[in-house]
């Protein structure tokens, strides 16, 4: 089995109003070193092994559904796990 961890964030060029609100709240907490906050999503997929190209499959899922390429970027990590 594979465990795929997908991170989706708004693209750098897209203003993140939630991140901005959280940053200003952190500043009010006294955390003045914080320069930027980006809020995103974290997804964990568990996949059965099979006769397929893993990266191709993940890229397909990420670009067609898990993220919206117009405003979001994604990255992912793959871990091999033993089925329980």
């Amino acid at each position: 089995m594979y465990k795929v961890k997908v991170y989706v964030t708004l693209r750098e060029s897209v203003l993140d109003p939630q991140g901005k609100a959280v940053m200003s709240s952190l500043h009010k907490m006294g955390q003045s070193e914080v320069e930027d906050v980006r809020i995103g999503k974290y997804l964990e997929l568990t996949l059965q092994k099979g006769d397929y190209d893993l990266d191709e499959k993940i890229v397909n899922m990420c670009s067609k559904l898990l993220s919206n390429p117009v405003i979001e970027d994604y990255r992912y990590e793959v871990e091999e796990v033993v089925a329980q």
Partner: protein, 227 residues
């Protein structure tokens, strides 16, 4: 002319849309469930507002893979009028029938209030009954109506006259005050404000009614006058 109001799990403006078309416009209309696999009998497709599939992942993201959206894409390619309002607009963006994407409102607040819109293009099949530059009052109700597209797409939208409605007082931060756009062919319109909620003086405005009347008039000119 017969309209379909597409109903997804989580749609909540479907009844308003149905009422606007049936009672105020006086046209034929039917509800169509999201797993329908045929829209051949309909001349116009209406995607209502709401929270399809709970808006999980992103607004409109899950709906794009429902059976009926394959048919909506087909109808759009056939040149049938397709109107997406609010969540319907978000679905059209996610499906790729319209360019761009929606972000959270700049204020991060859900906004529910009447808005003044400027009619920017009266040559679309959705707007022939308006005057150019006419200011109309139509309510908005959304948390993610902050339209975004990159600079290149924006230039294309302008060059092809695809920007149909803009906000007079931008409530959500959308690029170029955009409230509604069409596809390049002009038969698919997405807009965040709710014309179906502005079809009777009792509702505070009937400025939305002309949008539906425009669709019917264009359709009649094209299909009825010719026969």
């Amino acid at each position: 002319m017969k309209f379909a109001v597409i109903v997804f799990p989580g749609s909540n403006c479907d009844t308003d849309m149905y009422h606007a078309v049936k009672d105020e416009l006086g046209a034929e209309v039917e509800y169509v469930w999201h797993d329908a696999t045929n829209l051949n009998q309909f001349d116009g497709i209406l995607l209502p507002g709401g929270f399809s599939y709970g808006d999980y992942l992103r607004s409109g993201a899950i709906a794009q893979f429902s059976n009926v959206m394959t048919e909506v894409v087909k109808a759009a390619r056939d040149g049938k009028p397709v109107l997406g309002v609010c969540n319907g607009f978000q679905i059209l963006l996610e499906t790729g029938l319209l360019p761009g994407a929606m972000r959270r409102n700049e204020s991060l607040k859900f906004i529910c209030q009447p808005e003044e819109l400027v009619v920017e293009n009266t040559s679309t099949i959705f707007t022939t009954q308006y005057e150019n530059g006419e200011v109309i009052s139509v309510p908005v109700a959304h948390g993610e109506g902050n339209y975004y597209c990159d600079e290149e797409t924006l230039q294309q939208l302008k060059a092809n006259n695809q920007i149909v409605f803009t906000y007079k007082n931008n409530p959500n931060g959308s690029v170029e005050n955009i409230a509604g756009i069409t596809n390049e062919e002009g038969n698919v319109l997405g807009m965040m404000p709710h014309p179906e909620r502005a079809v009777d003086e009792l509702l505070g405005s009937k400025d939305g009614l002309k949008l539906f009347q425009s669709i019917v008039k264009s359709w009649r000119e094209r299909y009825v006058a010719a026969t």
